[in-house]
Structure formats: C-alpha cells, structure tokens
C-alpha cells in the first residue's frame, strides 16, 4: 500500500492552527439526533430519540443504543454507519482486554482505546475522521461513569451531558435539574423530560412518562 498516490492525511492543519475536517465532523455531530446521558448515584442513564425517516421503517431493526460489554453501553449522535464501525472495534478491544487480563475492561480503559481509534483516523493516510460523538456509560468497580468521546479523539467525563441537535437547550435544562445524589429512577425521568425540551411532541411525552410510572 505504500506505493499509492494517497498516502497522505486528508486532515491537515489550517493556517490558524485548526483541523478543519474535525470541525466539520463536529458539525455533522451537531446536526444529528439528540442523545444525552446522566450519571446517577447508583447508575448511569443514556437516552436518545429514535426518529425514523418514515412510519414504514421497521423500528425493531434500528438500534441506536448498543452494548459493548455486559456493563458498558454506548449511544451516538451523528452518522450511524460510522458508529457501527466504532462499536465493533470497541467490542473487540474489550474482549481482547478481557482475554489478556481475565478482568472485565474498566470503563476508562475502553474509552481510552476507542478515543485512540478515533484519533488514528485524524492522522492517517486516505481516511477521514468519524462523524460521530459517543456517550459511553458504564458501571465498574469505580462506580457509575459517563464519558463523551469526540471525533478528534478527545474524551471527557461528565456528570450529565447532551449531544446533537438542541444541545444548548438540553444542557441548560440538565444543569438546572441535575443533583449529585440522584437515584437512577430520577435520572431516567430527567432524561425523558430533557428530551422533551423541543425534541418530543407532548403526546409522545405522555406515553413515555406513563411507561416510566
């Protein structure tokens, strides 16, 4: 593969020191469907709106929230196909870690490895950055954890966060409603109420709230 015309990175610096491709990737994320996560005292909640392009789509075939290990899950905002690739790689890395150390992978380790993959694609030949941000939620011996991983490969630990469309509204709402000693049921309720802010219709909210109760 060395003797090809495309062995240079497509992600190059602009004169102002920014990586424009990554900025564009973040724009792609920002126009994706809203997803959010809330860390409670005894667990983590991740939620997203599953908006299908038409009522004819078989909703059971669409899986926006995926399992990486029995105690780590992930939701994305942005390009679905890109997230599938990352989910697959992360699952494999988690399994390799488990096989090597005979210990379930800690959330931080998995996040770090996923972030490393995303960074690789900003500095390799002939590839583009991933157009997704991931919210990784997990529970290990350090307790409940919530991480956001960006297309650049940077990751942040959050108490509560949102991504995608309407992110400023959602974050403002979360800031008001979040408390450190939330229980998981409160967190689920708050997640649904946050999604309602400009995302769900009142009828849908009624349905969800009824289900939760």
């Amino acid at each position: 593969m060395g003797d090809s015309q495309y062995s240079f990175s497509l992600t190059t610096f602009s004169p102002s020191g920014k990586l424009v491709q990554i900025e564009h990737a973040l724009t792609a994320v920002g126009s994706g469907q809203t997803s959010l996560g809330i860390k409670a005292a005894n667990g983590v909640v991740i939620a997203t709106e599953k908006k299908l392009p038409s009522i004819l789509v078989d909703e059971t075939s669409v899986q926006k929230i995926q399992i990486l290990t029995p105690n780590i899950g992930v939701v994305y905002s942005g390009m679905g196909p890109d997230s599938r690739v990352l989910v697959r790689k992360s699952r494999k890395q988690a399994e390799q870690y488990q096989r090597l150390y005979k210990e379930p992978i800690p959330v931080t380790q998995l996040v770090r490895e996923t972030a490393a993959v995303m960074q690789e694609f900003t500095q390799s030949g002939g590839v583009r950055p991933f157009g997704v941000s991931l919210l990784v939620a997990g529970y290990d011996d350090k307790g409940p954890q919530l991480y956001q991983v960006d297309p650049s490969g940077s990751y942040f630990s959050w108490k509560a966060s949102a991504m995608g469309k309407n992110v400023s509204n959602a974050k403002a709402f979360l800031e008001k409603r979040y408390t450190d000693d939330m229980e998981i049921d409160d967190a689920v309720h708050t997640a649904i109420l946050t999604l309602k802010e400009g995302v769900l219709t009142p009828a849908e909210i009624e349905d969800y709230l009824q289900e939760v109760e």
Binding site: M1, Y6, S7, I67, R91, E95, Q96, G126, V127
Partner: protein, 285 residues
Amino acid sequence: MGMKGNGSNHECSRERVKGEEEAAAELLLCREPIRIMSKGEVDYVHARGGFSFDSCRRNEMLLNKGLKPSSFLKTGTTIVGLIFQDGVILGADTRATEGPIVADKNCEKIHYMAPNIYCCGAGTAADTEAVTDTISSHLKLHRYHTARESRVVTALTLLKSHLFRYQGHVSAALVLGGVDVTGPHLHTIYPHGSTDSLPFATMGSGSLAAMAVFESKYHEGLSRDEGVKLVCEAICSGIFNDLGSGSNVDICVITKGQKEYLRNHLLPNPRTYISSKGYSFSKKT
C-alpha cells in the same frame, strides 16, 4: 490494477473494481495507517501473528537426533457426553498428569464456551485451555454482533478450522455439547480437525472404558437423573480402570435455556488419613 503490497498486515477490504476511481476507493477503504516498513521489519511481522512453524521443524530435527522432549502437562483423561431427552450432559474426570506424576488432582476439564455451550477437553492441558478460550471469545463477539444465541455448529466450525490450521500440532481432543435454537447437539473434535456428531461420545485415554459403559447402557429418551447416573458410571469406569484418569467426577447438564455445572458431583476417591496425629520417624531412618 496489481497493487504490490508486501506489508500485508493491513485489514483492507478490497474489491476488484476497474478504473482509477478504484485506486482511490481502495485506499479509502483501508483501515490501518500506512507505514513505510523496512525490509527486516516486514520479514519479522507475520500477516496474522501467532504460530510460527519454524520451531516445529527444528524440534523434529532434534528428536531425530535423539533429544528427549521435555514433558508437558497432559490430561490423560476420560471425557464423555450424551444426549438425553431434554438436552446434553457432559462429564469429565479431574486428574491432570505430567508423565507418570499426577500434577493436578482436581483440575477443571469442562470449559465454558457460551452460556448454552460447554466443551470437555483432553490432550495437552495448555492447548485445550487456549483453544476453548480463544473460540469462546470469538463466539462472544459474534453474539454481540448478531444479537443471537450462539449455535453449537458455530463453535464446532470455529474449533475445527483452528485445529486444522495447526495441522494437529495443537493437541486438543474435544467433546463439544450444547443446546441452541435447533436443538441439543453433541460433537467430538479430533486434534487434526475432523469431527463427529453423535448421540453419545467419549474421548481421552479412558475413552474405551467409558464407551463400554455407554454401549451397553445407553438408550434414547433418557431422563435427567438416568443420564447423570450413566455419565457418572462411565467416568468412574474411566477413573478406576485407566491410570491417566482419576480423582473426581465433574458433570454439566445443559437444557434449553438453562445449564447446571456440577463441579465435583461425585468424589469416589476421598483422602483417608491413617493417623491424625501425623507420623513420627526415629532418627537415621
């Protein structure tokens, strides 16, 4: 197009497309970063890593010259499996030998493959452990990807391909059993990669002793208790009549949606001490 890649350690999904867009498309599909590798590095790094057969050739040469091979932990073993009316029962003894010495009096020979699939292993202990571990990992990733319960034939095919690839050098003889959506299954896998599908099976050095019991007493439609009793009898026959097998009996009962791992179900060889006060030896003895 003729892309001469000597760095074949990329995972690239290539498709035979004609035209110049192809070259661009091929590269865009490439997943690994492109590295300029020196010739020495390329020789050392293998396409997939793992087993290098160079040592095997050298070892054979040394054997021919008369060098005695170092002894490794083998499981001279009795492992059995049978299909009963609700599923599969697997049984194994618990002795691991290193030549004439008992290395482990209570080892575990029934390995986990999937929640609904277990595998008994005879042969070199390290080989059976490693191969069942590897394939169990594979099956787990496959389950995540397909969101379905693993099938016994999947485990079977992964195991036999692995063993065939190593041409019998991975000395693992396995009895694989489980219950999936298509029903209960029981298979034997030989170290070179051939397989059998049977209603009852035995492997290991005690296989003849255990098979004698099965051949005379097995019938279709066994109940769970009858099945467990028969498996215990077969393993005990191996334990008492074969030097390579001994100690205790492990059983695993797998039915649809449920499994019971009965570790040390039977202990026919308890330690009996002559004197609880211990022994005293006079000096100079």
